[in-house]
């Protein structure tokens, strides 16, 4: 009944067969979930965050469970852009779906350089520019908390590449609309939000913070209401497409984000809980559209 439902979306030139992506850092470089389903069924794949140089990441523990959420302090562990291109890209580039590289930097220059290097890759669909990572010493979150610094990073990446730029925003701000407007003026073609909320946990036995870096990033169902509100706000502020994420575990969650204004959604923490969540969401979306006798495009932002 619903097999010829049109779920295609086009985000800043990235053509996706459906609006369900997987969120950066929750899907590695795509190898791990191949055992559970054909990942060519996804809308798009976003890589683990990449940096110019290899990063070892933070010492353990890196994961702490909270009510309906997860705190993580992975710290952008990644092989660096060169190793990524040498070791991961050959396999990724063979996927039939768009692959988006998520990038981070300690300095504006880092962002420029890594964008430049990745732009040489044929088939890479876009860059998702992470200006919101709470788990690293320099840069990261700080870039995403002020319109000026956010804009600077996006401008540098814009100069470095002709690839579509997705700015990934931090929820740890007073006025998300101002950040969104700033990155769009600076050249972002799309916005994804939210990255993790800054949180912490304390071990009452050892009487110290659970994580070496004290603060960590909160994700999962717990943050969904905040994420949804931010997608709603940004939809009212800018006209570029939005990729919504934050606690999406079911197709109902995905529909909420789309109604709030997201053109696509990304599944993060839910992958850990239910490895086939993205596929279930795609199927659920089809059925919903069928029953509501509507199409995806009319759904986007329809709750406004």
């Amino acid at each position: 009944m619903t097999d010829n439902t049109d779920l295609t979306v086009n985000i800043a030139g990235i053509k996706m067969q459906n609006p369900v992506m997987v969120a950066s850092g929750t899907f590695g470089f795509g190898n791990e979930y191949k055992n559970f389903y054909d990942i060519n069924k996804l809308g798009a794949l976003v890589t683990k965050g990449l940096t110019l140089m290899p990063k070892a990441g933070n010492p353990p523990p890196r994961i702490h469970e909270t009510p309906a959420g997860v705190l993580n302090s992975v710290g952008l562990e990644n092989p660096g852009v060169e190793q990524f291109i040498a070791k991961e890209w050959p396999c990724l580039s063979k996927l039939k779906i768009p692959v988006i590289a998520n990038i981070s930097g300690d300095t504006v220059e880092d962002y420029y350089k890594i964008a430049k290097q990745l732009s040489t890759l044929e088939n890479l669909a876009a860059l998702e520019v992470n200006i919101s990572c709470p788990n690293v010493e320099k840069g990261g979150l700080a870039f995403g908390q002020e319109p000026e610094s956010a804009s600077e990073v996006i401008k540098a990446v814009r100069e470095a590449t002709r690839l579509p730029i997705i700015a990934k925003l931090s929820p740890n701000v007073s006025h998300i609309q101002k950040i969104a407007e700033a990155v769009v003026s600076a050249g972002a073609d799309a916005i994804s939000l939210i990255n993790t909320l800054l949180g912490m946990a304390i071990d009452i036995h050892s009487m110290g913070p659970v994580f070496c870096r004290k603060f960590a990033g909160l994700s999962g169902p717990a943050v969904k209401p905040v994420a949804l509100r931010m997608v709603w706000e940004v939809y009212e502020a800018v006209s570029v497409p939005i990729i919504g994420m934050g606690g999406i575990t079911t197709w109902q969650d995905a529909v909420e984000f789309i109604l709030a204004g997201a053109t696509a959604v990304a599944v993060g923490t839910a992958n850990f809980v239910n490895p086939i969540a993205p596929i279930e969401i795609i199927e659920g979306l089809k059925t919903y559209l069928y029953l509501k006798e509507t199409n995806l495009h009319d759904l986007i932002g329809a709750a406004h």
């Binding site: 559970f36 683990k48 990441g57 997860v70 490895p275 086939i276």
Partner: protein, 266 residues
Amino acid sequence: MSTPAALFANITQNTQIAPDIYLMEIEAEIAEAAQPGQFLHIRCSDTFAPLLRRPISISDADKKTGKVEIIYRVIGQGTHLLCQKRPGDRLDIIGPLGRGFPMPEEGKTSIIIGGGIGVAPLLYLAKQIAKDHKNGHLPLTFLGFATKQEAFGIDFLSSLGIKATICTDDGTLGYKGFPTTLFKEHLNQYQDKSNLIIYACGPKPLLSSIKDIAAGEHITAYLSLEERMACGVGACLGCSVKSSQAGYKKVCKDGPVFEAGEIELE
């Protein structure tokens, strides 16, 4: 390595075998592929409380009957929910996951050392070594428990013909003391230790002690580690353990069993 699957297994048994310790038996196709040292990643609730899966080692698997066993200690919300499940309930699992214990090469003498709930995966390992006739011997087994009441697995080993050396912290069963102490004494009787291969699972101090002994005596040792996990499949980079080279290894994918020299135990 075997390909993990996400599936709902049928619970056929869930019995308390010691205070707070349960043995669960499930029917699952993965019985075929499961290797000693591998684990299942279990969703203990279909709500978000708790949200994440819980890793539990495979303590036995039988290709013929298609049954898999786990032995777990109830310590928090997840395992508490697990122990409330009944035969006939279904269990949401991913597995078998991780790199298990490599079988001893021909002619090697296997020594198994376990402490507390860490004994669980070693039972399946002992069975496989005992079965593996080309190896021609039964593994020497040292197990430690806090107290007599908490001991488990001894009958299972006996049925394989393995007479494990048991110790308890309080001396209520077997020797009083740690299995590592007994093992150290036992080691003295070997002139040539290069033929030994050690398998260990248990609390950190036990593993550290084995790692030190193995390094000192140049014995190959395989340790099964624990770390908090999110994905269980290598995608989140959450379960890191310091590599003895640069950077970190992933307990869920590179382990949970590591050659002692591969990793640092702080």
